[in-house]
C-alpha cells in the first residue's frame, strides 16, 4: 500500500481508467440513485485500504498528490496548519506524519496535476458525507459547494 500511496502518477492513471469506464453512464447518475448504490461499496473496498478514505464523498485527491486530506485530524483541505512539528509530525497525533508534508512531496512528483495543490478548496458538504465521490464528480446535477461559495 505504501508503494501505491507514494506513486501518485500510477494512481492518477488508475483514476483515468475508472473515469473512462464510468463516463458513458454519466447522465444516469444522480443522488441516491442506482449507480450510487452500486459504487459506494466499490469505493469502500478500493479507496479505504489505499487512501485510508473517510468517505466524505468529495474527493480532491488530484490536488493533494493523491493523499486523502480527510485523514488530517483537523480535516484541512487547503494545506497544512501552523502546528506541524519540526520533524514533520502532526500536532495532534505526534506519531503520525503530517499528511500535508506528504501531500506536498507527492504533489511535486505529479506530472499532470502538480499545480492543483494551489487551488482554493471550498468547505465540505456534510449532507453528502458517505455518498459516492465518483457519482458526485461525474454527475452533472449534483452540487457539493454551497450556493454562495465563489470558486
Amino acid at each position: 500500500m505504501r508503494f501505491l500511496q507514494n506513486s501518485p502518477n500510477l494512481l492518477v492513471s488508475l483514476y483515468h481508467a475508472v473515469e473512462w469506464v464510468l463516463k458513458p453512464f454519466q447522465r444516469w447518475m444522480g443522488a441516491n440513485g442506482f449507480f450510487e448504490r452500486v459504487l459506494i461499496p466499490l469505493e469502500v473496498i478500493t479507496k479505504v485500504p489505499v487512501f485510508d478514505c473517510r468517505m466524505c464523498g468529495q474527493c480532491i485527491l488530484h490536488s493533494t498528490g493523491m493523499t486523502c486530506p480527510m485523514t488530517c485530524p483537523k480535516t484541512l483541505r487547503n494545506g497544512p496548519c501552523g502546528g506541524v512539528r519540526s520533524n514533520g509530525k502532526c500536532e495532534i497525533k505526534p506519531v503520525m506524519n503530517c499528511i500535508w508534508v506528504e501531500a506536498w512531496k507527492r504533489s511535486a512528483q505529479m506530472k499532470e496535476y502538480s499545480k492543483d495543490i494551489l487551488i482554493v478548496q471550498g468547505p465540505v458538504n456534510h449532507q453528502r458525507k458517505g455518498s459516492s465521490a465518483w457519482v458526485n464528480d461525474l454527475s452533472t446535477n449534483i452540487r457539493t459547494h454551497p450556493d454562495g461559495w465563489l470558486p
Binding site: 485530524p73 483537523k74 480535516t75 484541512l76 483541505r77 487547503n78 494545506g79 497544512p80 496548519c81 501552523g82 502546528g83 506541524v84 512539528r85 519540526s86 514533520g88 500536532e91 495532534i92 503530517c98 500535508w100 508534508v101 506536498w104 512531496k105 495543490i117 494551489l118 482554493v120 478548496q121 471550498g122 468547505p123 465540505v124 456534510h126 454551497p146 450556493d147 454562495g148 461559495w149 465563489l150
Partner: protein, 324 residues
Amino acid sequence: MVALKSGSRLERVLTSGRFAVTAELNPPDSADPAAVYERALVLAEVCDGINATDASGANVHMSSVGICALLTRAGYEPIMQVSCRDRNRIAIQGDLLGAAAMGVRNVLCLTGDGVQAGDQPGAKPVFDLDSINLLRTARTLRDEGHFLSGRKLDVKPRLFLGGAANPFVPPYEYRPQRLAKKVAAGADFIQTQYCFDVARLKKFMADICDAGLNEQVHILVGVGPLRSAKAAEWMRKFVPGVVIPDSIVERLKGAGKGKQKAEGKKICVEIIEQVQDIEGVCGVHVMAYRQEELVAEIIEEAGLLPRRWQYGKGRAKRSKETLS
C-alpha cells in the same frame, strides 16, 4: 485616494506605508470587564491594534467577541481572532456580522490549535471550515454582500481581513504558496507565528517578494519576549507551532539567574530591529504571554514610538535619533 476596505486604523497605517505594531491581549479568566481594560490600557498607547485571542492553545478564556465588545465600547481598536475549532459556519458568519455591528473592523481568520493542546482535551473539535474557507467566506460577506448559502445581506460588514502564517515549520517550501492561497482567498494582512529564527524568515520573505505577494498583502512578523530558559523549553514543547532554536535557549541560560527576563526582552528587541530591514515586512505583532507590562518597553526600545503621528505634518520618522 485609496478606497479603504474597512477604514480601520490598522488598515490606514498599513496602506499609508508606515510600520505597524499590533499586540496581543491575554484574555482574562474572569467575568470582570476591568480585567480587560487594565490589560488594554498598557497596550493601546503603543500599538495600532489589539489582538483579542479566541481560546488560543485551546484553553478557555473570555471569548474574543466579548473582549472586542468591551474594547470597541471604550474606543480601542481590536483585531478579532476567529478560530474554526469551536464553531461551525452558521455561528461564525453570525459572529462576523455581530462583531462588525459593534464596530470591529479587523478580523484574523485562523484554523485554531487542536483541542488536545488545551485544558479541555475531551471537547469535540469542529473544523467545519478551515482558515482559507473562512477568509473567503468573510470576503464574500464584505464584497458580495451575501452569506455562504447565497442569501443576501441588507448591509455589508466592513472588515479588514487577516490570516496567519508560520514559516518556521515544515513543509517549508510550501509555506509561501500557502500564503499565496490565503491572499487568493481574501487576506489583506498576515500575522506570523513567533519569529525566533530570523534566517528562516529572511528566506521565506525572499520567496514572498519573488512571487510579488508583498504587493498584495501586508505582513506583520510575530515577536515576543521569553521569560526564562525554562519558559522557552516549555513553550517549544507544549505550544503548537512555536520553534525556538537552541542558540536562543542557551543564550537565556547563559544570562544567569534573575537576569533571564531582561535577556529575553533584549532578544525580542534585537529580533524586531532585524526584521524591520527585511523587504516585505510591514510591521510586528508583539505577543507577550502574561508579560503585557513589557510590551511598551519593547516597542519603545525598538524605536517604534510614538504610534500616534500628527496627521498633515508629513511622515514621522521612526529612527531613534529623532526621538531622543
